[in-house]
Structures are given as structure tokens and as C-alpha cells.
Amino acid sequence: MSRMVKRRIAPRHKPAPAAAKRPLPTSLRRNAPLVPVDSAGGQALAAVIAILTFLAALCAGGAELVATSSAQWRSDIAREVTIQVRPNAQRSIEADVDRAVALARQTKGVESAQPFTKQQSERLLEPWLGTGLDFNDLPVPRLIVIKLAEEARPDFAPLRQSLKDQVPGATLDDHALWVSRLSTMANTIIGVGVVLVTLVLVAAGLAVTFATRGAMAGNREVVDVLHFVGANDDFIAKEFQRRFFNLGLRGSVAGAGAALLLTTILGLVAKSWRASPTGDQIEALFGAFSISWRGYGVVVLIALVVALVTGIVSRLTVRRFLNGNG
């Protein structure tokens, strides 16, 4: 058109000869999105996404904290095995303990076998029975704590059999029941965390669906004009997707950032409490209350997934809206 105008019309009419000689501006386009952004609705959606991402990040961070702590507990408990030697009037308990320790040390994968002395065993009972009691009258069993080597998974069947044969009254506890219970508890907490994160993502998707439908209705004029100037549905859907992805990214980065900030602050507070009994208890349950690099990774991943969900859901909503109305 312009060439035609210049060649065939402009020489005859020349409306602005001076203007024609002017150099072109270097950048005319402001890269303005074709779908208006930064409306009040857009800001509200970004805020909703920020809140949902914050909650999802906290859930995921909490689940990750429990996963890390429970792995630590399970590894500690699984590395420890106990032999309990019950007193028998016909046998010398000291000899039985020594025999059991010797048998344990012969087992492959055992790093150390440490018997509790009579005094140590009695001290273990003090919280329940109090002090000043004569334990000589009580048949107090003796414990042998066996530490296993790292990553060792010894077969305890031969040791169990040897103890049965040579030290009657000795029982071996490999803590399998406790490990199983802890695993179930930790897996339940992690499962709940995953379900909560999924629910939050679904809620974010639904919020975006409603916001997109609202934006489509509010921008009906823009959509019509885009159609009339030759835009296809895919182009329009992409424009909406870009807008909502940006909104989603802004919201999710804010939410994830707030969650990480809160975790950091709680970590610092927990550190200052560490000396107190409450702090010790919290630390025993949740570790040092600071999430690992994997935790940071999960939070960043959630922020990205929320932004992606926002973009994809808006695109699908626009396509469906245009197919139904356009």
C-alpha cells in the first residue's frame, strides 16, 4: 500500500513532503500486549495466585521438612538393634551378656556392640521408679545396643538362632516395627502435603478459569476487532495465555518468595530458641527448621507450575470460549 501511495498518489498530492523525508523512529512499538493488562481484575488475580502459591509452598516445604526429618529418624533407628537379656535365677546374667555381645560382634555388618552396665540399666528405670530404690531385688533386664555399619543390612536370623541356642532369655529387637510405624506416619504427612498442593493448584486453575472468562467478556470488543483484522483463535488464545502467564508468574513468584522468607525467619527464630526445652522439642520433631536445597527447589518448581497452569488454563478457557461464542 505504502509503495503504491508513494508512487502513484503521493507525488500528485504530497500532503506532508517534509514528513516523508524525516527518518523513521528507531522503535515505534511499545510492545503493548494486544489484550489490556494491569486491570483491577488482573491485580486481584495476581494476589489470589500469590496467596495460593504461598499456601502451596508452605505445604510442600512442610512435607519436605517431614520427609527429610523422617528419613533421618528412620536411618538412626534402623542402624540400631537391641538385645535384651532377661535375668534367670539359674544363670549368671553377666556371663549371658558377655556371650550375647560376643555373638553380636561376630555378626557381619555390626560396627559395635555396647552392653549397658547394671548401673546404666538401673538409671534407665529411674524416671519410672524413682531414686533410692534397691534394684538388686528386681529382675532388671540388661540391654546391649548394637550399632550397624553405614548402609549395612545384615541378616539377623543366624544371630537370633545363636542367641536362642546359647543365651536363653535373650531377645533381639531390630526395631522393624518402629521403622514401619514412622514410615507410615511420615508418608501420611507427605501424602497430605501432596494432596494439599494438588488442591491448591486446582483452586488456582479454577480462579484463572473464572478470571479468563471475565477478561474475555470484558474484552469482547478487542476480541472482535482482532478477529476482523485477521487474527485466528489460536493467536487470540496465545495473547491471553501470555497475559495470564505473566500475571501468574508475578503472583507465584511473590507467593513463593513470601513462603521462603517466612521459612527463613522461622529458621532464625528456631535457632534463637535452640537452647530452650521448647526449641529442643521442635528441633527433635522437625529438624533445624530450615529447608534443604531440595525444599527450595520444590518451592521454585511450584511457583513455575502455578504460572504454567495459569497460562495453559487461560489458553484452554479462551479456546473453549471462542468455540462457543465466536
Binding site: M1, V5, I9, H13, A20, R29, V225, H227, F228, V229
Partner: protein, 233 residues
């Protein structure tokens, strides 16, 4: 695009052909009835009639934003009664439209509005920047290209709308009251622009009830009245 397109592409058939077309909105009376006419390739015509006669509805029929309640419409030789969305987009890209209410996007600058048809086709800005600026300067908007439409005058908006319709060098130009908001001298200049465009092969339909404009050109007049069409050859 004119350069990529030849009239023979659709076998010399009329650009637009209507046969016994009727339109009604909802359960109301027919606003257009028994329309049978063709717009030939490379033709120039005025579409006229009193206000409310259905000029805009007829343009929207051709633009495929209104579906006929009866009759057949073919655009560029293609029956549009059951047209796919992709083909609809393809046909619309061969048309330029000037709306009576301009329909400029208020959040885009004049330059961006005029470049919009090229941008939605996925063209790189560098490939059309000079062309858009040149056209804007030609329609007298060289100094207003960075301005948003709400601060443009009615005449400036109209010129921006015309420039947006012309920038793709359409095969068919539909203009609804394109000179309604400009002074007589600019109206004449814009009419000459449409004539030049027609000489280069674009079929032009100008809806107007401005007799002084129509009197400047001895071309076919499609006169709408009472929902029916009368043609003054």
C-alpha cells in the same frame, strides 16, 4: 495481500455474491430480504440508503460477523454457509474494513492500531515499520503515531481506521461511512485514495449517505430501502 494474489485465484468469480439472502434478528421482522447481487472483482460501488436501512448489517454479512437466516453467500468464490474457522480467518485477511465507530483499540497507539492486521499475521515489526509510518504520514497522522486513540479527534480516528484497513492492501475494502467525520477536502483526498486502491485491483464498497461524496464519482450505487436492495448501475 495484493502482491500474492490474482483475481484468477477464484476463477474470475464475483468477490461477493448474495442469492435470496434474508436476515432477521431473533424473532423480529427481516431487516434485509431477498438480496441478490454480486460485487465484481475490481469494482467500485457505493452502498447507500437512509439511516437504519441495513447498510451496516449488509457489511457485517459480507464480513461474516452476521449469518443470514436464509439464502446463499459466497465470498471470493467460496460458499460461507458452513465455512471453517481457519477459512474464515483466511477470507478476512483479504478484506479491509473501516467501521463506522472506528473500533480502534484504546490501549494501543495509532501506529500499533494501524499495524495490527500485519502483527496478527505474525509478521516481524521490522518488515512493516516503514510501510506503516509512510501510510500514517500520508493520511496526515505522522505526528500522532505515538498517541493513544482516546486523545485523537474524530477525524483522526477515522483516518487511523482507514489506514488500518488499507495497510494489508486488501482484495475487498468495506468502508462504513469512512468520510463521516472529516472535512470535505480530506474526504475528497480519502476518496481518491480509495479510487487508487481500486485501480490497483481492490474491490471497494463504501457505505455512505453523503450525496456530495457520491456525486463526485459515477459508479454503481447499491441503494437499500425497507430491507430491499435497488441497484443504480
Amino acid at each position: 495481500m495484493r502482491a500474492d494474489y490474482d483475481i484468477d485465484d477464484y476463477g474470475g468469480a464475483p468477490v461477493v455474491q448474495l442469492e435470496n439472502v434474508g436476515v432477521r434478528y431473533g424473532m423480529g421482522p427481516e431487516v434485509l430480504r431477498d438480496l441478490t447481487f454480486a460485487i465484481e472483482a475490481n469494482s467500485f460501488q457505493f452502498l447507500t440508503g437512509p439511516s437504519g436501512a441495513g447498510k451496516t448489517t449488509l457489511l457485517r454479512l459480507i464480513l461474516m460477523s452476521v449469518r443470514p437466516t436464509r439464502g446463499l453467500i459466497s465470498i471470493f468464490g467460496e460458499d460461507v454457509s458452513d465455512i471453517s474457522k481457519d477459512n474464515l480467518t483466511g477470507l478476512r485477511r483479504r478484506m479491509g474494513v473501516v467501521f463506522q465507530d472506528f473500533r480502534l483499540l484504546d490501549h494501543l497507539t495509532t501506529y500499533e492500531n494501524v499495524a495490527l492486521p500485519l502483527r496478527v499475521q505474525g509478521k516481524e515489526e521490522a518488515t512493516y515499520r516503514a510501510e506503516v509510518v509512510e501510510l500514517l504520514r500520508w493520511v496526515g497522522l505522522g505526528d500522532r503515531m505515538h498517541v493513544l486513540p482516546p486523545v485523537l479527534s474524530g477525524g483522526e480516528k477515522q483516518r487511523a481506521a482507514i489506514a488500518r484497513a488499507l495497510i494489508v492492501r486488501p482484495d475487498l475494502l468495506l468502508a462504513d461511512e469512512p468520510t463521516g467525520n472529516v472535512d470535505p477536502s480530506l474526504a475528497r483526498r480519502l476518496l481518491r485514495l480509495f479510487i487508487e486502491l481500486n485501480r490497483l485491483g481492490t474491490s471497494v464498497v463504501i457505505a455512505t449517505h453523503d450525496f456530495s461524496l457520491m456525486d463526485q464519482l459515477d459508479v454503481r450505487r447499491l441503494v437499500l430501502g425497507d430491507g430491499r436492495l435497488h441497484i443504480d448501475e
